[in-house]
């Protein structure tokens, strides 16, 4: 156990960029935007919530004060979940960078020889990467989101207090941050299961990459998509990738001036609200056959990646 924790630390020390600095950077940008929206016409709330209130961040408490309890709760939940969306998109990109490099970079600079000289099995080494991607990284992101939520709630509470609006009933109680955090945490756990084939594929590409690992990641996918397009004039493979990348319980849709970033995916038996994680959606998602079926190729690709690590002839 002690050595496995050491391997997790190694991942954290080596990949602090994607694991730590990405959520911190997004948090910094969001907090700056929140501050900006207090004194400028920039509308953070509208930017974060699709079909949200038109009021500026500073006027949000007053807007909430004029609404019934259900609307308050809905608006605040959408705001808190909306804040988390840039984190998810940033994390997804960081994940691609992290895992595609994770089994390649040590080979390129030959530092793998140093690690191979220590009693670390390839299985544990790869497992540490999977755990870092699926638990450590999301835990850091979740903690950062909690902090940014607290800061935003504090700002809103100050705004409410200055406007003479009841802080507790209007802002804090409808926000119900504990429930939001719990749903986000569970959502991440499920999302990481959904991403297991992605993890497996990235590790597989990284373990076999001889030059740019990104080429090994995207090259075969592009070739397969082109082949399918040329042979059967369909885009089913691309759609499959799209579902695997943007599907899942964690909202990945961000509103931009001329549309949406991200691709909402309709999955059977679920009616995902692409901005809020509802309890029933988590449950329904867990019952998706696609969720459980995806675990098998994910695990298989991880096993093949481990075997590829066993003997790296190019060391």
């Amino acid at each position: 156990m002690k050595s496995f924790v050491a391997l997790l630390k190694r991942e954290y020390y080596q990949y602090r960029g994607p694991l730590l600095f990405t959520p911190l950077l997004i948090a910094g940008i969001l907090f700056t935007l929140a501050m900006l929206s207090l004194w400028t016409p920039y509308r953070l709330v509208e930017a974060l919530i699709d079909a949200g209130p038109q009021e500026n961040f500073a006027q949000l408490p007053e807007f909430l004060a004029g609404q019934d309890a259900a609307t308050r709760r809905d608006t605040m939940e959408r705001l808190l979940f909306g804040v988390s969306i840039p984190f998810h998109i940033g994390w997804f990109i960081a994940l691609l960078v992290y895992l595609s490099n994770s089994l390649y970079r040590d080979r390129r600079d030959r530092s793998l020889l140093f690690w191979k000289s220590l009693p670390i099995s390839d299985t544990r080494s790869v497992a540490a990467k999977v755990v870092s991607a699926s638990l450590v990284g999301p835990a850091i992101m979740w903690s950062t989101i909690v902090v940014i939520h607290l800061l935003l709630l504090m700002l809103l509470a100050i705004m409410a207090w200055r406007s003479g609006v009841p802080v507790w009933d209007t802002v804090l109680l409808p926000g119900n941050p504990f429930s939001v955090w719990l749903r986000l945490g569970l959502g991440y756990l499920l999302q990481m299961g959904w991403y297991l084939p992605l993890f497996g594929y990235l590790l597989l590409a990284s373990a076999h990459a001889r030059k740019s690992p990104q080429l090994y990641v995207f090259g075969p996918l592009l070739v397969l998509a082109l082949l399918e397009g040329m042979l059967s004039r369909s885009i089913e493979f691309l759609r499959l990738l799209q579902v695997r990348a943007w599907g899942g319980p964690v909202p990945m849709v961000l509103k931009i001036p001329n549309g949406m970033v991200g691709f909402p995916i309709e999955l059977d038996q679920t009616n995902l609200d692409y901005h809020v994680i509802h309890w029933q959606e988590l449950q329904a998602f867990l019952l998706q056959p696609a969720y459980w079926l995806g675990l098998v190729p994910g695990l298989l690709m991880i096993v093949v990646a481990i075997r590829a690590c066993r003997y790296h002839e190019d060391l």
């Binding site: 050491a6 080596q14 030959r110 020889l113 000289s117 009693p119 003997y311």
Partner: protein, 285 residues
């Protein structure tokens, strides 16, 4: 004596290129073995085979374990040093100590700290920001603090200046005397390890062309220096090597009586470099 390494018929090839070609080998406990050969001779591949880091054919036991099936158990008992450039550049000195302590059961933190206390390595600096000398000291502190019975060194002083190379080998020999270890070392700076070695292996084109103890070298091989006008007499005794030094001829013989040679000129015990040059040349011819 107990065999630490026992190899029979080791073969390894990359496509049509044979890197190890039927290597038979026994290394006894407590030996300091120099594995010498030109670039591409198969030295690193042989070391990788011992460590279980590459596929090969043949029989091999290291510390009684099969490197192919028991690499993990084996890596607990082997300390392996490649050249110092393999230390991860993103790693801070303090983090390196912490990680090796948590990963290696035979790592002695106090010993590592006592090495590092004699240096000026800042614990919060990344390897990328340390001088090459400091990186060497850090690497040494890490590996010398691992109390492993077998130490494998692959070009450990590559790229270091002479001062650090000397320090490295001084530490190594001190450590060897402090603890009962077996050491296998490859290097191109052969003359620097000459006095350390107890055994010598020459590898060329994947084949062992010399496998002997240093004591046997003195018994079996002899150098004769003669004036040029007596060169033919020297050649008649069947030398395995011949070269010119300061206007005189230097011959290297294997298995020729010293009494016979002594009549022709000055006798010396050959150095590893002389032996290497002669044997590699002989083999090529």
């Amino acid at each position: 004596m107990t065999a630490i390494v026992s190899a029979r018929g080791l073969h390894k090839h990359y496509g049509s290129l044979r890197v190890l070609d039927g290597v038979d080998l026994n290394i006894e406990k407590g030996a300091i073995v120099g594995l010498i050969g030109p670039n591409g001779a198969g030295k690193t591949t042989l070391l990788k085979a011992l460590l279980g880091l590459c596929r090969f054919e043949g029989e091999l036991e290291v510390l009684g374990l099969d490197p192919r099936r028991q690499r993990h158990d084996l890596s607990r008992q082997i300390c392996f040093i490649a050249d110092v450039s393999v230390l991860p550049r993103w790693l801070k000195a303090g983090q390196a100590l912490e990680l090796v302590r948590d990963i290696h059961p035979l790592f002695d933190m106090d010993r590592a700290r006592s090495y590092l206390d004699q240096t000026r390595i800042p614990m919060n600096k990344k390897v990328a920001h340390l001088s090459k000398g400091m990186i060497t000291q850090l690497y040494l502190a890490l590996v010398m603090a691992i109390d492993a019975p077998l130490l494998i060194l692959d070009e450990p002083t590559l790229g270091l200046d002479i001062l650090y190379r000397k320090k490295f080998y001084d530490h190594l020999i001190q450590d060897y005397h402090d603890r009962e270890r077996t050491i296998i070392v490859t290097t191109h700076q052969v003359e620097e390890i000459e006095t350390l070695l107890t055994h010598l292996l020459f590898l060329k084109d994947g084949k062992l062309v010399l496998n002997t103890s240093m004591a046997s070298v003195a018994d079996e091989y002899c150098e004769l220096m003669v004036p040029k006008d007596r060169a033919q007499a020297g050649r008649d005794l069947g030398p395995i090597g011949e070269r010119e030094v300061f206007g005189r001829k230097l011959f290297l013989y294997k298995g020729v009586e010293r009494d016979v040679l002594g009549r022709l000129g000055e006798l010396h015990t050959p150095g590893i470099v002389d032996l290497y040059l002669a044997l590699m040349k002989e083999d090529a011819a």
